[in-house]
Symmetry: C2
Subunit: 203 residues, 2 copies
């Protein structure tokens, strides 16, 4: 039985759209930026502050302080107490949401946070650079150079965020149950493939 679907996704891959479509078809809750808002409201810390650290960690700061060593995070690093607290708080919220009702959760290392559950389908949605750039141009109207830079930067930030909090490589298939390249598929087709998987394992 698949109760929770976590989605890690490359910029421009359609992962967010696919997550939204899945949640609608399955009648599952959908959490993305809403999650930050929820966490923010409950904790009373302003969303702006959450927004600032969300999936972005200043590399230079980390390197300067020597905290990030070969992907292993030293939990005792005092310099990082506040960011770590923030992550732990979001992790707590994600666990509570997963306990409550079926949900699709996009980003935020949810696959890692919920790794002890057996009812989680962990997806990684990605595409080739060319497709990602084309999708970003279509969605946001950037020119090609801007779009390429945005894809590269966003994926780099996500990869770094994931590595920092989980110690794992974001694009490594082993973290996920299915990884799906959307380069040659439309989103409805992706949803059908994933639903096909869910139906089969739920038999």
């Amino acid at each position: 039985m698949v109760k929770i679907i976590t989605i890690a996704r490359g910029m421009g891959s359609g992962g967010r759209t696919i997550g939204k479509m899945l949640s609608e078809e399955l009648g599952y809750k959908y959490y993305d930026k809403d999650l930050i808002r929820l966490a923010s409201e409950e904790s009373g810390i302003s969303e702006a502050f959450f927004g600032r650290v969300d999936e972005k960690i200043k590399t230079s700061f980390i390197k300067r302080n020597g905290i990030y060593k070969g992907g292993v995070i030293d939990p005792s690093s005092r310099e990082f107490t506040s960011d770590k607290n923030l992550f732990n708080f979001q992790a707590k919220i994600i666990k509570q949401l997963a306990d409550k009702e079926p949900a699709v959760i996009v980003g935020r290392c949810a696959d890692y946070i919920l790794q002890d559950r057996t009812d989680v389908l962990r997806l990684f949605i990605y595409c080739d650079k060319e497709t990602a750039v084309r999708n970003v141009i279509e969605a946001y109207g950037n020119d090609e150079k801007e779009a390429a830079r945005l894809v590269e930067k966003t994926d780099k930030d996500r990869s770094f965020y994931y590595k920092y909090y989980t110690g794992r490589d974001w694009q490594n298939a082993m973290n996920y149950n299915i990884c799906l390249d959307t380069s040659r598929l439309d989103y409805a087709t992706c949803v059908r493939i994933i639903r096909g998987y869910i139906d089969i394992v739920s038999e």
Copy 2:
């Protein structure tokens, strides 16, 4: 249209069995060790010699000769001419086989070798360590410690071989169209999921 299916697979994940099942159901040719035999016969070099370098490269030798630097292979390295020739020869054979008729090709960096074709479905089949060890014990009758060592060593060799010839990370999802974790699925179910994908993209 999917004419060629390439399968990269973790030791004990069932990737080979799934490949065999797919080839039988779809009426595609199946190539695995046979490929080496074919290559060997055509070239006249003994199979034993092919067998020795196949998916195993002596790390110490490479390190000693300073050829392997950050995953980039220097094609001019004289020390490696013979292994490189061997790989190039196998690559040529794989391309010829793919041109000839529909086929499932397991291992041998076939995904990378055939990357310019648009009719290739590139699969990565894997599972968690626990499942891999259990499968190896069942298949070969090793004790648990031996099986764990075999899984670890084989995957390390495959990863190294892939990195050496492609410059890419073997477990990185971006190399493949679908990555499938078999830990919680039987092989027939995996075949159904993959065939579901093939049917949908072939519509």
